[in-house]
Amino acid sequence: MNIIHLTLKIWRQTGPESKGSFKTYESGPITTAMSFLEMLDVLNERLILSGEEPVAFDHDCREGICGMCGSVINGTPHGPEKKTTLCQLHMRHFKDGDTLVIEPFRSRAFKLVKDLIVDRSPFDAIIAEGGYVSVNTGGTPDANAIPIPTFTAEQALDAAECIGCGACVAACPNGSAMLFVGAKISHLALLPQGQPERSKRALAMVKKMDELGFGNCGNEKYCEKACPKGISISNIARLNREFMKAAFCSVEE
């Protein structure tokens, strides 16, 4: 197991209204088997003991599925490894002596809470507009009543894998949430269960997305590159198609 030393330039900001700045820390000895967040843990333990407030960062499952963690490392959301959340990024991907600039997921729609923590509740607000199938508990048909081709189910799952981390928004120069919204729209538009509300869903979710200050897609694919789950930009194409179809052809408001 190797030991490396890094210089960390970390964004410190005590609250949404205060002014933030980068502060430089030496990492101390870091073993390369550690995850990125464990490296931050080590730094924080040292900061606490020295009486300095540790770096606040969001994290929970630490196995790449809850979507809670995420920072921008040297300009890239979730760091340099493809299809990897920050908690699953291991220090073996860095070299001794590297300098890492660590920033929060910045975007107009995500307000900064503290240090590396941002408010991603706008994502929940978009889902509340239609990211569901309106069925109450009970009274649903037998699960096998409607056959779904393997390919369709797999394609829907490809989209449904989105963990809602917000890296796509942070990566996008326009601060667009269209990969996130496109993933949910695609997941439900592909499945038979999603058909009845297909138009209504597309119209309502896009409207909310715009309202909340997310930008438009510029087809630059930064989001796809940053996505830890590899959600394809083709979901944005499907979102556009669904929205256009609903806007032109749907009788619903």
């Binding site: 900061l47 407030e53 630490r62 299809k83 929940d124 508990t137 048909p141 056959p147 779904i148 799952l157």
Partner: protein, 637 residues
Amino acid sequence: MQLDHRIPSGPLTEKWDRFRFETKLINPANKRKFEIIVVGAGLAGASASATLGELGYNVKTFCIQDSPRRGHSIAAQGGINAAKNCQNDGDSIWRLFYDTIKGGDFRAREANVYRLAQISNQIIDQCVAQGVPFAREYGGLLANRSFGGAQVSRTFYARGQTGQQLLLGAYSAMMRQVKTGKVTLHPRSEMMDLVVINGQARGIVTRNLITGAIDSHAADAVVLATGGYGNAYYLSTNAMASNVTATWRAYKRGAAFANPCFVQIHPTCIPVHGTYQSKLTLMSESLRNDGRVWVPTRSGDKRPPTEIPEAERDYYLEKKYPSFGNLVPRDVASRNAKEQCDQGKGVGDTGLAVYLDFADAINRLGEAAIRQKYGNLFDMYEKITGQDPVKEPMTIYPAVHYTMGGLWVDYHLMSTVPGLFVLGEANFSDHGANRLGASALMQGLADGYFVLPATISSHFAKSALVPITTSHPAFTEAIDTTKGRIQRLLSINGKRTPDDFHRELGLLLWDHCGMARNEAGLKLALDRLSELREKFWHNLKVTGSGADLNQTLERAGRVADFIEFAEVMILDALSRQESCGCHFREESQTAEHEAKRIDDTYSHVSAWQYQGEDQTPTLHKEPLVFENIQLSQRSYK
């Protein structure tokens, strides 16, 4: 304390129907007059919130994460069981019931488990209707796989992320109710206390994790769906923020804690790499369907696995348990791995690992087929360890995974505090002494979608609840207690961090209250625990203040509760002088060193009642009565 299980009379198969028929209902127009607090937004909390909202109740849902889509149910990989018998392989509700009771080593209630098996099929229907993209066969019907401990294929799955897809389904159903206004969300809120008025649970005190504000919320019933306490061990497969605080505070307000010593140690996790490791990652045990577990026959053999010839490999599970082989239940697999490592046959840098080898399956089915089945698990393994399981065997080791113990609940899922309901992993009800694979998702959703919505109405119909607001003195008292506790944590100003104490607690529990326990070790752990508690309250260091986002303070509060809770866990392990399920008491073994259950003395639920600060809790026993099945000693040979 009376432990009345309130199981309906009548034949097992009719109890749930009978309950639903005999229970008093609340008129739809009156449902909107009731406020319900749900704490936790994992599978159980989200499904309960959604369903209660649909029924017309006013629901306030609290979670500690920034969004209610992140509860740790999301990390469940393998699948969810249901008795649909889709594969025509002899499954039935009765078989799922029997397997679950037997898997739990006959330490769960027949009536609860039977109901769970009955509801299992509806859960799948519900999830599919929500748009959960389960795996499908080419004909378009649902696919199944077999899962640890089962001889039928009854597990429904969505690649290796079934928990995620089910949780997102429940979350989306709940968000629909948020839109209608029936559910109000309170993310980044931690429950700090339960408020009990006239013997009824009537509210909670919370801390806003962003502003530090201590708030109180009144309601007609409180539902805890706050998950398990596996993080007492520091290293576990739980999420970092998973904690015992909510259930522990409820315990201190009168809710009995049942079977706290029943902790499942999962056999297939990625081994520990170093001191600063923050958590352990589980590799779904579905891997054991195609992976073969082995160690070198010679202890101390440090050759790389590919250089160890077939004749010098010990496939110890296949040898010892010919009929179940690599698919023995979790406790058996875990204990055997520990046994091999204790004999010096462990592999990897630390010697605390065994191999899980896919070479045979790849030869038989081809690499593509294996990757299709386990692709994301293989990627996950490679990401963490830097090794490709197709080229060399995985290394695995057991880790704390799931806690069968939890707050005691009756058939209605109500705790010993009337009006306090407990769902999912937070209660003790359905898994006995050991949980079968793919049963946790089933239980969380059964409790939330189907059981609680039916039982809570009977509570409201029967209880004459007087209107209460947060100006009641009981709220003021709970707020003051909470503030005092936070102040105390902040004012110690010692020299050790919360994590440092947590690690020490974890090692203590892992060593003495882990895979195998004995009286001497448990007693030693009790002594060391009181020393640790003393040190914690004298030498803890928490930076910052209570008036804003302070993750160190959050952690300190949770560690303080884990330290208190650990005592009850150890007391419970001490009092149960039998081996059963995951609880292996070294004093209670057969001649072949297998677990020996003692039904005459220990066929009961142990429920612990709080008696006050520094007082030993009282043990109450709820006898387990088996009228429909014959108790047998588990044998997987």
